[in-house]
């Protein structure tokens, strides 16, 4: 194994590195040239973000007249931008703090619901034998290609008019008002997330050794216990990655929130960010600090979930 790999070696199986195409590619990827290239890319990639961070602390006048790098020759720090976006009281600016709460209220259930449903569904598709299982799976798989935009109008009509077949009302309109509109947003996000989440979790789950499930069955576990005590602990890395994807998607989503959410009462931060610059776009210096406020929580989530990305969870379970 090349000494420069950053991943810790997996206990059980030492991967033969050389000879295979993948091995050669891997060797190239950990060489010095590749390392330098990736550092350069990383710097190029981070520079604009860094510039944005610097700008967010500069006074409005400075931002609008000179580039962010002038900060280093003429440092002038102000918290006004942050103060404006977080606590300002006018209609067009500020109160980002309350929208931040909205974002959290939208995001947390919109991550947990699909995760819960998808992991149950993935278990059923991977480990229960029932008629038509493969067709259900193919259906779920195929649903991934449907663009979300196509579902907006039907879903909206589903919420506001219910489902009618001929003269028969199968489902009444939801008639949600005010803060209740959160439910619509949760529902929409859950629907849109399920196909990919089921697909990813299913693939991960079906890789678990079948003997493990059988051992648990013989030990007296039913499906609920197997799911809870065997499967869930072993698919934590997959759950963490799906959770992060879904979190970032929902957090940064503007379209779904705008369509299914209501007024300011339920609007997430993205909606507010879009209007921060003012109706004529003249106040765009606020976007700098606004962007950073909206970035804080995803960063925290990402860093705290990162420790669940562990390799080799299955080591020592089965042999051969």
């Amino acid at each position: 194994m090349a000494a420069t790999t950053s991943t810790p070696p997996v206990a059980a199986v030492p991967t033969p590195v050389a000879d295979t195409l993948a091995g050669k590619t891997r060797k190239k990827l950990v060489s010095r040239g590749a390392t330098i290239a990736s550092i350069i890319i990383a710097i190029l990639w981070t520079t604009p973000t860094f510039g944005l961070l610097v700008s967010s602390f500069r006074p409005e006048n400075e931002i609008k007249t000179t580039g962010w790098w002038n900060f280093f020759t003429d440092p002038e720090i102000t918290m006004k931008n942050y103060n404006d976006v977080l606590f300002g009281q006018s209609a067009a600016n500020g109160r980002l703090a309350s929208f931040l709460v909205n974002s959290i209220v939208i995001t947390v259930p919109s991550v947990l619901f699909p995760l819960a449903i998808a992991s149950f569904a993935a278990y059923a598709l991977a480990w229960l034998n029932f008629r038509g299982r493969d067709w259900v799976y193919i259906g779920v798989f195929a649903l991934q290609v449907v663009p979300l935009q196509m579902a907006l109008v039907p879903l909206l009509s589903f919420f506001s008019r219910g489902v009618k077949l001929g003269g028969l009302t199968l489902m009444p309109p939801w008639q949600l008002e005010g803060a209740e509109k959160f439910v619509q947003v949760w529902f929409a996000h859950t629907c849109f997330a399920l196909p990919l989440a089921i697909f990813l979790l299913h693939n991960f789950m079906s890789e678990l050794p079948g003997d493990l499930m059988e051992a648990a069955k013989v030990d007296g576990a039913g499906h609920a216990k197997i799911f809870r005590n065997i499967v869930l602990p072993l698919i934590v890395p997959a759950i963490a990655s799906v959770a992060i994807f879904q979190f970032l998607w929902v957090w940064n989503d503007l379209l779904v929130a705008l369509t299914f959410g209501g007024t300011d009462q339920t609007a997430p931060m993205t909606v507010r960010l879009a209007s921060l610059a003012g109706t004529k776009g003249g106040e765009w210096q606020r976007l700098t600090s606004g962007a950073f406020v909206s970035m804080v929580i995803p960063l925290i989530v990402f860093l705290s979930l990162q420790r669940y990305f562990v390799r080799g969870l299955l080591a020592g379970s089965v042999k051969g």
Binding site: E214, A215, N229, G320
Partner: protein, 364 residues
């Protein structure tokens, strides 16, 4: 303690034309150690999994203690199983692995602890109880898998080739440990293996399977001495029995100049069922001697000698009815013949086995 009965139990995999296990009839006594043995694909693992409830039974029944368990789920059968690849729960400590089944049954904590400690002591796992499986060696993992079965105090132990992932030395050692432990616990055990040495050394009785059919079930001694058909004769024993089909005379079977006598009944039975003047004769390498040329032995040309220290096995060929046939003979390790030498070999009197050439069934 329990008895196990297979009554015409059959398993047909979806899409398969022939059953993986075909109308298996087998009775396993209380406290018995029964070994299911056969080549790969013979249905031995399937039979075991049917008993475990992991495989559907398409027809027939399976009883544990006269209770029909044919369609019960595994957890209602009170059985414990040791898997070939151990199937330990990788995220649980050794202690939790062993305690899992008991916790599911809501056994009181103090009793769980007592039972796990007891099993750990028996298996010399006491110092590893807090470790995860990945921090254990292969032999230790195997013992954890055993421990997981033992703590349950089940009606029946099921073991699916539990030794096949161990190295040769550890396998021999663990083999005797399992046999000793089973004798001590007295739990009815069904053990699957493809290794006839394991079958012979461990089983009270051995059931030989081929292509989903039970060939013979008997004590290791009886299987060795009186194999019921050609397959069992060739499968049990190492090196394998010399088995050749030759022409039949009134007195017996003729190997070049060597006449192996058959009784009148045997000759009559050999002629029946499409025997067509032929008979299949088998004799074990260890029942065969190198004799002087005058003793009417069969002359073979030595082409390989395997010296094992305690034994030497001589392989040689002879032209038999126009075809080169190979024979194996055990020789005195101090007096082995040279390569290319022609030696005369002959089975000890009455040590050869005769089978019908068409049906393969034992004659007399």
């Amino acid at each position: 303690m329990a008895t196990v009965t297979y009554a015409k139990a059959t398993r047909v995999y979806p899409g398969a034309k022939t059953p993986a296990v075909d109308a298996l009839d087998l009775e396993i006594g209380d406290g018995e150690f029964l070994v299911l043995v056969g080549p790969s694909g013979c249905g031995k693992s399937t039979s075991l999994r049917m008993l475990a409830g992991l495989e559907d039974v398409n027809s027939g029944n399976i009883f544990i203690n006269q209770n029909d368990v044919t369609h019960l789920p595994p957890k209602a059968r009170d059985i414990a199983m040791v898997f070939q690849n151990y199937a330990l729960y990788p995220h649980m400590s050794v202690y939790d692995n062993m305690a899992f089944a008991l916790k599911l049954r809501k056994t009181p904590k103090s009793e769980i602890e007592a039972r796990v400690k007891e099993a750990a002591k028996m298996l010399q796992l006491e110092e590893y109880l807090s470790r995860k499986p990945k921090a254990l060696s292969g032999g230790q993992r195997q013992r954890v898998a055993m421990g997981r079965a033992i703590v349950r105090h089940p009606q029946v132990f099921l073991m699916d080739e539990p030794l096949s992932n161990l190295d040769a030395k550890l396998r021999v050692q663990t083999r005797s440990q399992i046999a000793t432990m089973q004798a001590k616990l007295g739990v009815t055990t069904v053990y699957v293996t493809h290794d006839q040495v394991e079958a012979m050394t461990m089983g009270h009785r051995v059931a030989v399977l081929l292509d989903g059919h039970l060939q013979q079930v008997d004590t290791p001694r009886a299987l060795y001495d009186r194999p019921a058909n050609v397959f069992v004769a060739g499968f049990m024993g190492s090196p394998a029995m010399n088995i050749k089909t030759v022409g039949l005379t009134d007195q017996g079977a003729k190997f070049v100049d060597m006449l192996l006598p058959l009784t009148r009944d045997q000759v009559a039975a050999a002629q029946a069922d499409g025997g067509n003047g032929r008979v299949t004769i088998g004799f074990r390498p260890e029942d065969t001697e190198i004799v002087g040329g005058l003793d009417k032995g069969m002359p073979i040309t030595v082409d390989l000698v395997e010296e094992l220290g305690s034994d030497a096995f001589v392989y040689g060929t002879v032209a038999l009815e126009g075809q080169d046939e190979r024979f194996t003979v055990r020789a005195d390790p101090r007096k082995v013949p040279q390569l290319g030498e022609v030696v005369h070999v002959r089975p000890r009197p009455d040590s050869h086995h005769a089978f019908n050439a068409a049906t393969g069934l034992r004659l007399g």
